[in-house]
């Protein structure tokens, strides 16, 4: 997992499989970096994510809340087709948009 700031947005490059087990570490690392870097928005890069089940939806909903409390918004990009399906199923796309690329996401979140 990699973190970097672009203006007030914390970009999180997620990796590998997102399930109930791996969500624990993801949640902790994202929250710690969000606070430490005093970020406003959260942007998740899904390029290197190979699997995500509904535990990942719970994790994203929790991070939406975190960003909302910080006065920011949350976005996703590079979402693989398989993962897009569960995002649609969960209606989580009402809380966060999946953008086609980083530039578009940053423009929209700013």
């Amino acid at each position: 997992m990699e973190f970097y700031m672009l203006d007030s947005t914390l970009v999180v490059a997620l990796m590998g499989e997102i399930d109930h087990h791996t969500c624990v570490a993801i949640r902790q690392a994202v929250d710690r970096n969000y606070q430490k870097k005093r970020a406003k928005n959260l942007l998740f890069d899904f390029e290197k994510v190979t699997f995500m089940d509904s535990s990942g939806i719970g994790m994203l909903m929790g991070r939406y809340r975190l960003a909302a409390i910080g006065g920011g918004r949350i976005g996703l990009y590079n979402v693989p087709k398989d993962i897009e399906r569960i995002l649609k199923m969960s209606n989580v796309c009402k809380l966060m948009k999946a953008y086609s690329n980083k530039q578009e996401a940053l423009k929209e979140l700013a």
């Binding site: 399930d19 109930h20 087990h21 089940d53 509904s54 994790m59 569960i86």
Partner: protein, 142 residues
């Protein structure tokens, strides 16, 4: 000649085994030469059922037993996930989308919804105090 095969695994109710369960089922199902999408669907459904067993059945106690039986006849796959945890009081209620009992733990309440979406049939049998059995069926494309 109809193809028929069966396998069983069991493991402790530790979250690290969620990935193990997905890999084990994938390796077995690969014998049928499924599409990438079909394999992904099955992995999703297994992941949800095993996660439910660990979180809800055993309430994160790590010494419970989760068993998976998997078999196929031609292109029809049967997967059964069994735990001997606390069981579900109302299966009907638990299968409602967005139903969740763990509010503090960021659960989406989508486990059964995902299983139903990914598989052709999902049947849940549960008795409080005795455990839960989830039976799922999926036919692969011709």
């Amino acid at each position: 000649m109809p193809k028929r095969n069966e396998m069983q695994i069991q493991f402790l109710s530790q979250s690290v085994n969620e990935a193990f369960a997905r890999v084990a089922i994938s390796a077995f199902i690969t014998q049928l030469d499924p599409t990438v999408e079909e394999l992904y669907d099955i992995k999703m459904a297994v992941s949800e059922a095993v996660t439910n067993a660990i979180i809800h059945g055993y309430e994160d106690k790590e010494d419970g037993i989760v068993a998976i039986k998997c078999g196929y006849q031609d292109k029809v796959i049967d997967i059964t996930i069994i735990d001997e945890g606390k069981g579900i009081k109302s299966v009907e209620e638990a299968m409602q989308p967005l139903y969740t009992t763990s509010l503090e733990e960021e659960r989406a309440g989508l486990g059964f919804t995902v299983m139903q979406e990914m598989m052709d049939e999902v049947e849940v049998c549960s008795h409080p105090g005795l455990g839960t059995t989830v039976k799922m069926k999926k036919s692969l494309e011709k």
